[in-house]
Amino acid sequence: MKPTRKNNVLPGFGLTLGYTIFYLSIIVLIPLTALLFKTATLTWADFVATVTSPRVTASFRLTFGAAIGAAFVNAFWGTLVAWVLVRYRFPGRKLVDSLVDLPFALPTAVAGITLATVYSANGWLGKYLEPLGVKVAFTPLGIMVAMVFIGLPFVVRTVQPVLEELEPEIEEAAACLGANRWQTIARILLPAVTPAIITGFALAFARGVGEYGSIIFIAGNMPMKSEITPLLIITKLEQYDYAGATAIATVMLAISFLMLLVINLLQKWTRRYTA
């Protein structure tokens, strides 16, 4: 392959591109193809039977349901956090701002055992929730709590730069033309940040669907009730049911690719507002 811009004098195009494609192939592309080939050894009837068995469909419902719920929670609270961090000044703001990235940096296993402990019946937060009849640990609600934890930075970090780059002149103009504060927020600010909120929602959702480490400790892992799809893949593997594990993984992978496509389109849409 040759660079299309002919007058480029910089060296190393062939070498760096060649190495990029080589490394990408051996680490990512060939192993992912192995998954697809393994699935292809199943007959169509077997594949359908595996991915529509009650235990598998129950895990899909649970995983996607909890991920959508958690993404909604994050879309609302993440936007509020981004707004507070960008618009208001309060002591400790910088510290809070850096700690928002904690779910990116904290290993998922640590997040998992910690959330399970804090939200268990006699944990720091669980002991106040339990008397109210709210059981979090070892229920589907616990799965959502873990997904909210890992998904939060995605929404905050997508909405924050858009809010930062909004020009104050637009709000000033709205105020000058007689809009009250509420009208300015609803008609001027919200439409501008909506693409970013939706992108953050999609990113948080995609992360929640695939998440494993932070969830399994708090989930309880009862088949049909609180068993997420990634755990089911591991269970099948431990029973040496490679074909079953592969079939479920293929469905999840197809959904991830679809999400990736949607997110790419959303990000293009968001960029119209930031550029």
Partner: protein, 290 residues
């Protein structure tokens, strides 16, 4: 003069009132955001350290001195020492090719580089089991030659490379694209060799970006759980990384020890966040200067 100042102050006050929310609304929004963050981030973070020290400092230190914990730490360091430099080298090559040249299929290539981020960690482990496991593509051949990849360190390293694959590249590509090629072209015109141009001209411009990508890559490499748990086989003292050791101790109801080991990873996360904030600060400064 004084009158003008007070007049000015009055009108900016009024403007501020129309361009911001009343005091009580601001106060309500800030405290509810902080309450939400406390429930989901701050309280859990504090509880890691509190649980670890619940049975006293001696139990805490004893848990860290376990032989199995030490071998887990060694394996985790080994994994990071191999996977981070490989992904750094890849990130440099990929961002040079993508940011400095135009070619067909570029956006497809960028999407493919980002791919590992959208694959579930469990699937990231599974694909290597399907390639190198006993029932996999080259598993039987590997067994005949007595090479162990799955349930051994090489498998753990491969899975870690996969999940941390995009970190450096995705940080450097936009950074190098925004800087263009003029400085490099000037250096070449003045007679510098390709490598000289890279180390003397490109590198100083992207060094903070490199550091940023590397610390995030390292945090994930040392903390990865899902993908590693599929390929590791959980052999105590042999193929357990630190996160897997936390899981084992926790599942044995040895909570104090589990949280003691977990504090190591929590400290790693906090150090990562501190370095990250510092690098962001330096990057902003560099931007202002140029």
């Amino acid at each position: 003069m004084a009158n003008i100042t007070t007049l000015h102050n009055k009108s900016t006050d009024q403007a501020r009132r129309q361009l911001s929310e009343p005091f009580w609304v601001r106060w309500l929004l800030i405290s509810s955001a902080l309450l939400f963050l406390s429930l989901f981030l701050f309280v859990p973070l504090a509880s890691v350290f509190s649980e670890a020290l619940a049975k006293g400092v001696e139990t805490y230190l004893a848990a860290l001195q376990e032989a199995d914990t030490w071998s887990a730490i060694k394996l985790t360091l080994l994994v990071a020492v191999i996977s981070v430099p490989l992904n750094l080298f890849f990130g440099l090559a990929a961002s040079w090719a993508i940011a400095k040249f135009e070619f067909r299929g570029k956006s497809l290539l960028i999407t493919l580089i980002d791919l590992p981020f959208s694959v579930s960690p469990v699937i990231s482990g599974l694909i290597y089991v399907l390639m190198f496991g006993l029932q996999g593509w080259i598993g039987p051949w590997l067994q005949d030659h007595d090479i162990k990849i799955i349930f051994a360190a090489p498998g753990i390293i491969l899975a870690t490379i996969f999940v941390t694959f995009p970190f450096v590249a995705r940080e450097l590509i936009p950074l190098m694209e925004s800087q263009g090629c003029e400085e490099e072209e000037a250096a070449l015109t003045l007679g510098a060799s390709g490598l000289q141009t890279f180390f003397r001209v490109t590198f100083p411009n992207i060094k903070w970006g490199i550091l940023y990508g590397v610390i995030l890559c390292n945090a994930r490499a040392m903390g990865e759980f899902g993908a590693v748990s599929v390929v590791s086989g959980h052999i105590r003292g042999m193929t357990n990384t630190v996160p897997l050791q936390v899981e084992i101790l926790y599942n044995e109801y040895n909570y104090a020890a589990a949280f003691a080991v977990a504090t190591l990873l929590a400290l790693l996360a906090l150090v990562t966040l501190v370095i990250k904030s510092w690098v962001e600060f330096r990057m902003k400064q560099q931007e202002i200067r140029s």
